[in-house]
């Protein structure tokens, strides 16, 4: 039996693995990939201690740092089920493995939130895209739309500006959500047109995307844009399905945690990173949250706190 199972291989999971290994906790980390959501980011400018790092390189560094720890076991798999019997947790994975443990730290992060409008699922990979860094070059000379003006949306516009001929940035609110420094960079580019109060109604196309329909929330008028690409950057949705029957979630299905310890409502289960109800989703915050949670788990295991 393990003292701790860490679920997830993003910044939170990796940080937790390193802290747990150094505390000599008997630990196993279960993840089907490493690096988290930033793996597909272009350049990351706010990973503290490194001025600029591409997303894939941060992912690689995280995995290497984790694997360099003595005493950490890593299982490349996905947890599908968690139950508690006779005072210990039983975890099952999709490949059929079983793990028993005293405590669990959930760092399963999140995934791209979808618009949930007609046409979106149908055209994924056929013009609807979730990674501008990866796919921008395939929209050379084309008109595209970016949905969402958070940092991810603004960075998508910047990635696309090297290739696309026209970029519409659609925001459902009446102001930009991302960092002013990044928005300044977006505004330098004359190819970009920002449309506020735009509620996306439908993605249009036949075999590939040919346009989108949105409602101007101010006038109530429905409008269409002819675009070949729609990059959806409207935040994330937490991967909390595996614990939804155990721990308390908020209305966004994020795990509610005690911010001073990382404890969830279920004794023996902690959570850290983007899967929690912390307002701000950042690599640095996820890594810090996970470190705090492991230190609290260590106190719990050794001192029964």
């Amino acid at each position: 039996m393990y003292e701790l199972v860490i679920i997830g291989g993003g910044p939170a999971g990796v940080s937790a693995g390193i802290y747990a290994a150094r505390k000599k906790i008997k630990v196993i980390l279960v993840a089907d990939s490493f690096g988290g959501q930033s793996t597909v980011s272009g350049n990351i400018h706010n990973w503290i201690g490194t001025k600029v790092i591409p997303g894939w390189e941060l992912a690689k560094n995280l995995e290497e740092h984790l694997r360099s720890q003595e005493g950490i076991e890593i299982l490349e798999d996905k947890v599908s089920e968690i139950s508690k019997k006779n005072g210990e947790f039983l975890l099952k994975t999709i490949s059929g493995k079983e793990i028993t443990a005293k405590t669990i730290l959930v760092c399963a992060g999140g995934k791209h939130r979808h618009l949930n409008v007609p046409g979106e699922d149908k055209f994924i990979g056929k013009g609807v895209a979730f990674c501008a860094t990866c796919d921008a070059p395939l929209f050379k000379g084309k008109d595209v739309a970016v949905i969402g003006s958070g940092n991810a949306g603004l960075e998508a516009v910047i990635d696309l500006s090297a290739y696309a001929s026209k970029i519409y940035l659609l925001e459902c609110d009446n102001e930009v959500k991302g960092d002013p420094a990044t928005y300044d960079e977006v505004l330098k580019n004359s190819k970009t047109e920002v449309i506020f109060n735009a509620k996306i109604k439908e993605i249009l196309g036949d075999n590939f995307v040919t346009g989108l329909k949105y409602e101007d929330k101010k006038s109530g008028e429905e409008k269409e844009l002819a675009v070949s690409g729609v990059f959806v950057e409207i935040g994330m949705t937490p991967n909390s399905e595996i614990v939804r029957d155990l721990v308390n979630l908020n209305e966004r299905r994020e795990i509610i945690v005690d911010y001073s310890t990382g404890k969830t409502s279920f004794p023996g289960i902690w959570a850290a990173g983007d899967i929690t109800d912390s307002h701000y989703k950042q690599n640095t915050i996820a890594a810090g949250d996970a470190a705090r949670a492991v230190l609290d788990i260590y106190s719990h295991l050794r001192e029964g706190k």
Partner: protein, 84 residues
């Protein structure tokens, strides 16, 4: 050895991870940068009926995206084919 081809773009994290995977496991591959080779981009889109990268060809099979276990499976399949 089975022929491997990767259609990639310069800043695509999963393309990089796929290439690392082949390098670490001693597989040789041909890389096509679809951000510069527009003809290759067109044929990739036509073959896979989609626009995302990486697209990885292993022998006659094609995978969209980077999925370690799927690649391992196809490599094993290709390996057993070439032995037979």
């Amino acid at each position: 050895m089975v022929k491997i081809k990767i259609y990639s773009t310069p800043f695509c994290g999963y393309c990089k991870m796929a290439k690392d995977f082949f390098d670490q496991n001693g597989f040789q591959y041909e890389e096509v940068d679809v951000s510069v080779d527009e003809e290759a981009a067109k044929s990739m889109i036509a073959r896979t009926n989609q626009m995302g990268v990486p697209v990885i060809e292993i022998g006659d099979e094609v995978i969209v995206g980077f999925n370690r276990s799927e690649i391992e499976e196809l490599l094993a399949k290709a390996g057993s084919k070439s032995k037979a």
